[in-house]
């Protein structure tokens, strides 16, 4: 059958961004202990509250168990066989300008197509670039600080804005929230901090490029975004990682806080190394992302395009605490070869008249497994709340799987929750129809997949949407014969 050919062809696609750059590391000894936590905190010259917070998380983590409920399978992780801290060696002084940045690092970014220099001004993007664990370059700080916006690495924020960090960190994702969040809280290496003061509309898209680079150095990003009353910010996060044989652990935490009338838009394009055709290698991506609509009329919107990682465990969620607050989740999750994704969202309606919207588009190819897992919970006090969920699955070939696990929990009678789901398949008939119009099979799949994901891609800022479209096509390259 043609299906069989299709599936076999799927495994022919290769990861295009795989390479290893040769940068010296200032590395903590392998393994996790209180000493590791202290080492990290000391390296970063952190105030005492931060160390205490980390240690508390570490001690709690020791008592926790790795979650097993997700629809993913992987060999046990040896947490003592991981490096928890690696910094580019020459960074202790800190570069004053882009010219001072290690040429190797700059080359890495160039290969990834990240414009670090003048192009940024034209593109209107300020990049807080994270290579391994330490920020190597930050631009546009000046322009942003005129508006009172703080956009810096987490390490800088802990040192320069300890009051803000102490006030907000862990308020949305407590250090004891779950196994991976606790681990992150203990050993988080770096990440971004963003603070938009009252009434300020951030004039540019903020973006961070994460990148795993050092061998076996788990990556523990921690990002915190606070939008004060009436503030607005759109934040972009993009990932790509070099080719690796070993599995690498990635456990990030992102916390968003939107005060009254504030809005935060958080967009992700995730393209970590997914492993090879036989399912060897690839990143384990265990992420906790949560936003809190704390004030009335606030809004948080998550958009994600997930194409990478061997395993994805990720549920960007919204706590709709303020009355009339709005939470949105738009997701495209693509799995190929042996990738496994268990992703979705939680919408927790606490305030009155709160609204949420979930649009999830899963695409499975190869021998991959793709699950949507979502919870919509409406509190007894959250009267007149509404949710609309749409979960679609697209299958390519007949050796992959798509699963949907929707949980709904409604505590009052005036709220309305709607759920729609579809499953479709790229059939041989559709492919032949496209071929007969002169469109190659690969282009046909790209066309169909992008059409299918359009509703989500439309939510991304323009330049990201184009990149995401390409990424979907690249990820499925050679997937259909």
């Amino acid at each position: 059958m043609e299906d069989v050919n299709i599936v076999e062809q799927i495994t022919l696609s290769d990861y295009k961004y795989g390479f290893i750059s040769d940068i010296e590391n200032d590395t903590a000894p392998k393994g996790l202990s209180e000493d590791t936590v202290r080492f990290i905190s000391e390296k970063k010259k952190e105030p005492k509250f931060m160390l205490d917070w980390r240690l508390k998380a570490y001690r709690y983590w020791l008592k926790m168990k790795e979650p097993e409920w997700a629809n993913v399978k992987y060999p046990p992780i040896d947490y003592q066989d991981i490096y928890y801290y690696a910094a580019p060696k020459n960074s202790s002084e800190g570069p004053k300008s882009l010219e001072e940045v290690d040429p190797e690092i700059r080359k890495t970014f160039e290969k990834l197509g990240i414009p670090l220099a003048e192009q940024q001004k034209l593109a209107g993007i300020a990049v807080d670039a994270v290579l391994d664990s330490v920020s190597v370059a930050t631009t546009f700080k000046g322009k942003l600080s005129e508006l009172g916006i703080i956009f810096c690495s987490m390490s800088d924020a802990v040192q320069n804005h300890p009051d803000l960090i102490e006030k907000y960190i862990g308020t949305v994702v407590p250090s004891t929230d779950n196994y991976f969040a606790a681990l992150n809280s203990a050993v988080f290496s770096d990440g971004s901090f963003c603070y938009i003061p009252k009434g300020v509309r951030c004039p540019m898209e903020l973006s961070t490029y994460f990148r795993i680079n050092a061998k076996s150095s788990g990556q523990f990003e921690r990002t915190l975004i606070v939008a004060e009353e009436g503030a607005y910010v759109s934040y972009l996060e993009g990932c790509s990682a070099p080719m690796r044989d070993e599995n690498q652990l990635h456990a990030a935490v992102v916390e968003l806080i939107a005060e009254k009338n504030a809005e935060i838009k958080y967009s992700t394009v995730q393209n970590w190394y997914p492993g090879d055709k036989e399912g060897k290698g690839g990143i384990y991506n265990f992420v906790t992302k949560r936003g809190m609509c704390r004030g009335d009329n606030s809004k948080i919107s998550w958009t994600q395009v997930e194409t990478g990682s061997a395993i994805t465990w990720k549920y960007p969620s919204c706590i709709l605490k303020g009355d009339n607050s709005v939470g949105e989740f738009y997701s495209v999750a693509l799995t190929n070869n042996y990738q496994q994704a268990d992703t979705g969202t939680k919408m927790m309606h606490l305030g009155k008249n709160t609204k949420s919207r979930i649009v999830s588009k899963g695409i499975s190819a190869g021998k991959s497994q793709n699950s949507y897992r979502g919870l919509v919970s409406v509190n007894t006090k959250a009267t007149n709340s509404r949710n609309y969920s749409q979960c679609d699955s697209l299958l390519i070939g007949d050796k992959c799987g798509a699963h949907t696990f929707p949980y709904i929990d409604i505590g009052n009678k005036s709220s309305v929750v709607e759920h729609e789901a579809t499953t479709s398949k790229i059939s041989d008939d559709i492919i032949f129809y496209c071929n007969q119009r002169g469109i190659s099979t690969e282009d046909a799949v790209g066309l169909i997949v992008n059409g299918y994901a359009k509703e989500v891609l439309n939510q991304l800022p323009m330049e990201f949407a184009v990149e995401a479209q390409k990424l979907l096509a690249i990820s499925l390259e050679g997937s259909v014969g």
């Binding site: 479709s424 059939s427 032949f432 129809y433 071929n435 007969q436 119009r437 002169g438 469109i439 059409g451």
Partner: protein, 252 residues
């Protein structure tokens, strides 16, 4: 000029021989009608020419513009000018007619070493061709065939044909399921596109369509072979006497 030459073609599907030795030559400027009762192999012939994979050619040859047709992948055949108007056009959710046609047309242009058509020229061309088959402009933004009526799908096929301007167009029962008005629109589209440089192979079960598209040749396909060829008169004779007339003659 000979566009298509089929010699002693034999085709199997799942081990069953459906086409049992067909010979047919189609020259530029000609319209051929292929008629025949259900199950005679008409659609199989159309699909084999278009390059569908489940069909296995066991014998014979097909030469298209001097080249071996079977050396070309189906998308290459399309770019070389072979167009199949499908009997059952598929729906492609999320892909607009405009986007679909633009991709197809630009693939064709790339094949001919031409620059892609810019958005404005493309839009103008679409509007012009849409008029030809009397389809509404709003249809161009709708997903390919999604939620289309049977008649709309068939008109969309003719619209696509008009956009791509093939050298050899094969219409696989395009008339089935059409009311008389839609039939006239489809026929009118074909007549306007027909010229001395292209050829049409019109597959149909009924004579009706041939009142509007006048064929130069009519062939009757029965049990996988062309059993009778003639002019337009043959179609009328068939209409009058029915396929039983042919069946009797052959089966005797």
């Amino acid at each position: 000029m000979s566009l298509l030459k089929i010699e002693n073609l034999k085709v199997n599907i799942n081990g069953n021989q459906i086409i049992k030795g067909i010979n047919l030559e189609v020259n530029a400027g000609e319209i051929h009608a292929i008629m025949g009762p259900n199950g005679s192999g008409k659609s199989t012939l159309a699909n084999v020419l278009a390059g569908r994979e489940d069909y296995i050619v066991t014998e014979g040859s097909v030469t298209y513009m001097g080249k071996n047709l079977f050396d070309m992948a189906s998308e290459v055949r399309a770019r070389e000018g072979i167009f199949l108007a499908f009997q059952y056009p598929v729906e492609i959710p999320g892909v607009s007619n405009a986007n679909f046609m633009r991709t197809a047309l630009n693939e064709l242009r790339k094949f001919r070493n031409e620059e892609p058509l810019d958005a404005m020229d493309f839009l103008q061309l679409m509007r012009e061709k849409a008029k030809l088959v009397e389809i509404d402009k709003t249809f161009l933004n709708r997903s390919v065939n999604e939620g289309f009526s049977g008649g709309e799908k068939k008109r969309n096929e003719i619209f696509q044909m008009a956009m791509l301007q093939p050298k050899l167009a094969i219409l696989d029962e395009t008339d089935s399921g059409l009311d008389i008005d839609a039939l006239k629109i489809v026929a009118n589209g074909v007549n306007k596109l027909s010229n001395e440089n292209n050829a049409f192979v019109v597959i149909t079960h009924y004579q009706r369509l041939l009142d509007y598209i006048i064929p130069d040749f009519v062939h009757v396909l029965y049990k996988g072979q062309i059993v009778k060829s003639g002019t337009k008169k043959l179609a009328l004779e068939l209409e009058e006497k029915g396929y039983d007339w042919i069946k009797k003659e052959i089966d005797m």
